[in-house]
Symmetry: C2
Subunit: 352 residues, 2 copies
DNA sequence: CTTGTTTGCACAATCGATGGTGCAAGAACT
DNA sequence: AGTTCTTGCACCATCGATTGTGCAAACAAG
């Protein structure tokens, strides 16, 4: 290796080598050289030196001076989930295409953690922050605001800056209706045979529940309170709720509206503990899309949120001069059982 | 908001407010003040000022001076996959617990992209880089080496620095054997009834294939070449391979070894296109674990790679003084059908 | 040949934090 | 009282890039 172990070249090194001043080198390499009336030949020389010495700018220095970093942050609740990881995947592609560097961090749905994580990102002088699925978006807002950082909410709305979220009410309606209709031709559901499990007291869950209840009232006439079981997002809590129901009724409800794929994992854990049940008449609606879940042995109707649409919209809105703190709704999509959709991965080339 | 719109406080601001010098403020706030024999009362004053003015250090400035950033990078092929996203989740927890900031970026399995991404991370003066599932680990190595950056390979090995990977040979053997045994009590497989689909010419695929073939020879006596179908990782290419087989033989093989959950998605796409097949006698082994896949209507035996173990080991090895470029094998785990395992998410608290 | 103009670049301050060095004031010791 | 430590901090260069300003040389105009 030619350059092995040596420190990275700086504009000062190139300055000596080229006989020009550091500021000239800097101007040439960051593209402002025309404005500074640097001769083409000088620029050419410096560029070739930069090339052979593998020069790359030190971004910390650049960022310090310009108080920008080229970093764009995405604050996520968790990574380990198809919805949020496809959010990360899509976000990354958008950021890259703007020539910037994505930095994706999760904060475990913990408001304190969310604020601390935002603080940390700010201390790196990130240029923008996308706050996705935050438990306390307005708390994060305070932190960003104090630092003069542009930010926007995704997935869960805040009240201080614009939010781009799924139309959870409409999605909740669609999914509930699809479950009900699935039974109608043969063995229509009674109101107390359709339960909603999972979610907590966040905007998304509330809206989905609102849609769920509205459709139940419209199509089934009634909407008993006990059919709403918000268990939080932890799989094990969801499992316990299913166990409790099973304990009490000797079976699961025929119709299940599961609030998220994470809660759905709780249902799987329940099922693993009841290997001899066959769940033959079960229909599950899940507010999230996962290709494997779509092929389970009982009908699974899913909602796919339009991640690409949300990210695209969020980038549009965040660039606006005076963005109003309104909520932008993005329509989700109903996915019938046994459907394998393409995702962000399909955009990648697969070299062999 | 008290401080709204104002710039962030610096040590110079606190210096003026406290009547001390900037270096004193710096020493107090970065913990080196005892070494500098700063009076407890001075330190106390500065600390309280920092508190009320919400001071946080500018990491770009600190990083510039100290040529460290507090950032630890993870280079991933993709986000949108349970294996890699749990890698991100686990990595993040480890980095956080060391008081540093994780930065997770994907490079789409593209060698050129991998090197460029590493360059970018280096320009932010990251302190360490974990190279996970890279197509060309040694290419990334060159880049890191030239910058004097500590790095390590995960999931796919390189030859220049240590690598922590799954024992893919053993895993391949376990999975193959489990598939074979699943049929043995009743309708034993013939050698040409057990196919391997997916993967490409990388170390992991080669080892898995080696294990697959060895077990086939041991248990089934033969190991025909045509039973190996490396399709790359793209779901659609895998789908096409299944289509082709189906076209030719009028059915799928009874036993399938699918190289990864991404390839498994290709199988789902195939199935979506053949809604009237019931795949009743199909047994799938998948070299990856996904809870939903585990509950599909046919037996799915899975391998769960020990992500936590790999990350832990990688952190151990990277801290070593003179790490040798050897390969550390981590044992994966066989997962029987209809098993819902806990994951990194279960470590999180779920508020409300 | 003198007086503008333009060209092409160098100089130096700056971003915020760090850490080596120096030095005054007080304490301890002879 | 004079000398030597110790305490407690201030000063300043430094990391690498950016950017406003200044200025000599080349050139054009009169």
């Amino acid at each position: 290796m030619a350059n092995s172990g040596k420190k990275k070249a700086t504009i000062y090194d190139l300055s000596v080598l080229s006989g020009s001043s550091p500021s000239t080198v800097s101007a040439v390499l960051n593209g402002t050289w025309q404005k500074r009336r640097i001769k083409e030949s000088t620029a050419e020389l410096i560029r070739s030196l930069a090339e052979t010495h593998q020069y790359t700018a030190n971004r910390q220095a650049r960022g310090l001076r310009s108080s920008r970093s080229g970093l764009i942050g995405l604050l996520l609740p968790i990574h380990d989930n198809r919805y949020f990881s496809s959010m990360a995947q899509t976000f990354e592609a958008h950021v890259r295409s703007k020539g910037q560097c994505p930095i994706v961090v999760s904060a475990s749905r913990d408001p304190e953690e969310e604020r601390k994580t935002a603080e940390t990102l700010i201390s790196y002088s990130i240029d923008e922050l996308f706050i996705c699925g935050a438990t306390d978006p307005d708390g994060v807002h305070e932190v960003c605001e104090a630092a003069g950082l542009k930010h926007i909410n995704i997935d869960l709305p805040g009240t201080k800056v614009p939010s781009v979220i799924s139309d959870n009410y409409e999605g909740g309606r669609m999914l509930t209706e699809a479950i009900v209709r699935h039974f109608q031709p043969t063995t229509p559901l009674a109101p107390d045979e359709l339960y909603l499990f999972g979610g907590r007291n966040d905007h998304a869950s509330r809206e989905r529940i609102r849609g769920f209840r509205a459709v139940k009232r419209e199509l089934l006439g009634q909407d008993p309170d006990e059919c709403i079981q918000p268990t939080g997002y932890a799989p094990n809590n969801a499992r316990l709720a299913f166990e409790a129901f099973y304990e009490k009724h000797g079976r699961l409800p025929r119709g299940l509206f599961v609030n998220s794929s994470i809660n759905f994992e709780g249902l799987l854990r329940f099922m693993a503990g009841h290997p001899h049940e066959n769940f033959a008449d079960l229909v599950v609606g899940c507010y999230d899309y996962d290709p494997f879940a779509s092929f389970l042995p009982f009908p699974v109707i899913m909602i796919r949120q339009d991640v690409e649409g949300m990210i695209t919209k969020a980038f549009e809105v965040i660039e606006e001069a005076r963005p109003q703190p309104r909520i932008h709704l993005i329509q989700p999509e109903l996915v019938q059982p046994r459907t394998a959709l393409t995702g962000p991965l399909d955009a990648l080339k697969d070299i062999e």
